[in-house]
Symmetry: D2
């Protein structure tokens, strides 16, 4: 088991910069990420629009180049551990950003909604975070469910894309499924794939409705692997129970269509079904939660239980990565 | 405990016809529903486009008038039992209908996808149904999770709306959450509310991707109740664990927005939070699964766990109806 | 030339009521319509939300039954004259209605935009109306271009649909093309077709952005005709220069798709082209203005010049109705 | 009057490369562009999917740096002349691209529509091009109306964006309004602005429905100018009759909202109206044609006649550029 540390300058795009670390397939990588505010919002009086400066939002760590990765291959990123680095985390509204507000593209004549910051208390021992209302004394503890909102590879067609945009290259999908125990698959567009990640969340509701989650700096461990000769047109996820396809687009039904179309194809391939039979099976057995409905593209997931479809996708890489993760955690 | 039987002619709209049964609040109603094909598709050679005739699809049973229900009130429909009436059920593709096909509104130059029928074996004893692929020998058992795709009340503004359309009046929301144990709430638009229901599914994936679920005739028992003086602008659901708001619209992000907006308002009201605090809490603790992404309007759900928000919505009517249900089931 | 007068109670739906007048094909019908506020807004202090009561908005006159019209046929409504009945007209914003505001379906946490009324001076002699700004002394004269926002027939499937909703039955399409000199075609869903119309506008920009046009009571003359055995799946328009297809749906691209799909089919049929050749020709020669982007469905138009496509659609009925119109106007 | 020639390697992105030519504001620039197929499709048997290679589509010429242009400024690109360079031009369908076909994002289970190429005869003398049907003998002459589908500047936030994507930086808006006589305005994101253009069309219908226009290599002359200290958040156009705002987004209603929102703001500023008064005036006097409804973002235009709003936008730069254009054309 090879273990490497990744240290990199904060970056704000996918694509457009060289590898910060090059690793062999199967390597465990330890890294840390800053929160989506670049750590600049530390309390309820730090308004993001004042302390952060567009476009220096949502920093990502990386990129990691995977040796041997070429266009047409798929890289796997298995999350071994995602751990908040501070005893607080931040959420906020942000002017003209969110699902229930006018935005720069859903352009309206309303003034922006008020900008408000919430500071969560984070207790890693008890694995909870505490929401404190700003307008009343109400507070409630919520379980930690740490995840990364932003994970992806360098895009195709020489594009350089802001880290806040999700797409076929991954990016800011903002799905709570990107937690420890999950393997994410991305199609490779450039040699080395160039994996970056960031935007850690202590937890996040589906849809990330107000535009931000419980944003936190993270200490994260991943295992990176390579599947040669197998393409992956849209990011896919796998955990011990589910296969998941993602779609990121607007309108939201197109994100849904992409994810379902991909899962239908994947299911058909794994089970030897034609397209209509796979369509039917996914229609009756699938789940379809929202990822985000706030970013420059929206993200939907299509999920199907592995006990229905197949124990082994991508030639069983998930199970191998799980084993590596266990070995790493046992040694740490 | 009052128990009534409802028998009615099949109908194809919400609105436009008188009550088939009038009951006092709190009454248990036993009824049966036909499948969305009107029972005309019985095997894989019965193509819906040949044996069914538009617009005589998706028949509903009812309406049930609730004594004392007036515009401005809310009616509650608690599902006590939903039980397939046959040992088979049907699913199919249907020309120009479904999420991954050109439709009459997402109009394209493609020919329709092939029309195909799947006949599921239903085993109520073992509480499973069996999918049999048409293009191969593959088959798989799936758990039964019976539900009603279509439940609602007469619409506002003197409208008469096809039963296949979901909206503020309920209708064909096609969410798997409409199962036994769930209470559905609808704002009342006309005296008596005029509740109808149909479109039983042995089970359904989120999104109802291919356009139909595992469609079955059902024997169903509901308890109907009335909450005076409390409006309900969009249908809401409650089970033992979750409060759920629905939104039905196009594009899909508007269905999402409606459902989240309603849940934010509901959460704020139950917890005494202002809009931004409720927005924040729902953003971190909420779930957002798709209902349907195939009907004339799409349906999204916004869910929040009752242990986070509140044990008691609508003055605790869900718990009272659960008690009635238990009493009924004990006596049956 | 037969001439009839239509007088009817104001109605607020398409479908759901009997004919107010039955005429033979080819009959000239004189009628009047009230404005979308039912005449209740007469000055800048009459706020619609106070003086109008939902759902009693957008009254239509009719319906007119056409003798012999059966499902599968098409009725033609040719506009001979549309003339404002008063020397003033009204426009307004309306809470939660319009293209640049949160609405009940594009649900957001913003307060409603301010409600404001504009009273236009209408000078039929000089064929102009005058906009007077409310926030300054600015005013400007705009040419009159009178039209009807709402024209349609009883819907299919026994539906009864609010007059503010556009769809396959016509309804509130709110396109400025519905002016004198235009023939509108509607597929017949019920015996007699049952044509209603209302929502006169002194003029309207494309998109009807703020939600209302320069709303006015109208004296209107139409000629009604019947094309037997020819269906018309979505409303079509024809004037001396253009053939036009309409599509009404959400999202707006579906309204676009419907209208273009219909125009491609229509063009192919008139010119004997296959679908791809017609697609190509429409792509290079077509126009695509917005109708409305504010109503419960949005409306797009697809237009192609008759000198490119064909002088004669629907067997030349437009030219015959133009002749009838000229005859009527000469005699008046 | 300064006149410069621009020669550059074909490029496929906005952003990501240095200036090919640097000019002072007010300079006339002569350049040529290749068609969207890179000239590789020359006849009906050259299928784009075979002779072109993704992502090497839609080459642009440039970029031109404007001396003194800084973020916060606006650059003006006035089209003096756009002239087809060959006596033929090409249009085609392309698999999974177009408004009436399943695409990679509006993902469906349909096979791709057939790929077909049309070769237009172009007669610059008579200023016409000829459509020849592929499925029949039909042919028709259409007037030339040469334009550039793709014009824009380097994007903000260090992004590098494929030339086929329209957005706030301009890009592939595909509006027929980008013709000789039009001035296009773009907000500057990087020093020099870095203007590129390409994708010449002999003519194009609104919406570019099939995905391609009458694609042609062009000899083009522009005048480039600079407006210091005035931002331009979305591309704007001006010709002798209209002011026009553009919006590029999905769904199409967001493209509409952006364009209308911008035009409302612009109108208000020019006339000294508050937002509601400007909203009202645009609502009654505006036009709203589609640009493209096929690209990775859709484009809508919002237009208002200059005789209603204002003779002088951007301090009259359009008139000055018109004068330069006349001077250039007189000397040529």
């Amino acid at each position: 088991m090879r273990v490497e540390q990744l240290v990199s300058e904060p970056a704000y795009t996918f694509g457009g910069r060289p590898a910060a670390l090059t690793v062999a397939p199967g390597t465990v990588v330890e890294l840390s990420t800053e929160d989506c505010f670049g750590g600049a919002v530390r309390g309820v009086d730090d308004l993001p629009s004042q302390v952060c400066q567009f476009p220096y939002l949502n920093p990502v760590t990386g990129p990691i180049a995977v040796e041997g990765a070429e266009p047409g291959d798929t890289v796997a990123v298995h999350f071994v551990d995602i751990r908040p680095r501070r005893d607080w985390a931040i959420s906020s509204t942000f002017p003209h950003f969110g699902a229930l507000t006018a935005t720069h593209t859903t352009a309206m004549l309303h003034d922006a909604l008020p900008e408000r910051v919430w500071r969560y208390e984070v207790d890693v021992e008890r694995w909870v975070c505490r929401f404190l209302a700003r307008s009343s004394d109400f507070s409630v503890e919520l379980p930690l469910d740490p995840m990364h909102g932003t994970v992806g590879v360098a895009p195709a067609a020489s594009e350089v894309i802001m880290s806040i945009t999700p797409g076929a290259h991954g990016g800011n999908m903002d799905t709570p499924e990107m937690r420890a125990g999950t393997t994410a698959y991305f199609g490779v567009n450039v040699p080395g794939a160039l994996i970056s990640l960031g935007d850690g969340h202590c937890r996040q509701g589906e849809g990330e409705v107000c535009g931000t989650a419980v944003e936190a700096a993270m200490s994260t461990v991943v295992v990176v692997d390579l599947i040669k000769g197998v393409p992956c047109p849209w990011p896919r996820l796998e955990d011990d129970r589910y296969l998941m396809s993602t779609g990121s687009a607007r309108p939201l039904e197109d994100a849904f269509r992409i994810s379902q179309h991909d899962l239908v194809g994947w299911t058909g391939e794994l089970l030897g079904l034609d397209a209509l039979d796979a369509y039917q099976l996914v229609s009756q057995a699938g789940l379809a939660p929202a990822g985000n409905v706030v970013d420059t593209n929206y993200t939907m997931l299509a999920k199907i239980a592995k006990d229905i479809v197949a124990p082994q996708a991508f030639d069983g890489v998930h199970n191998r990565l799980r084993a590596t993760a266990r070995e790493y955690l046992a040694q740490r």
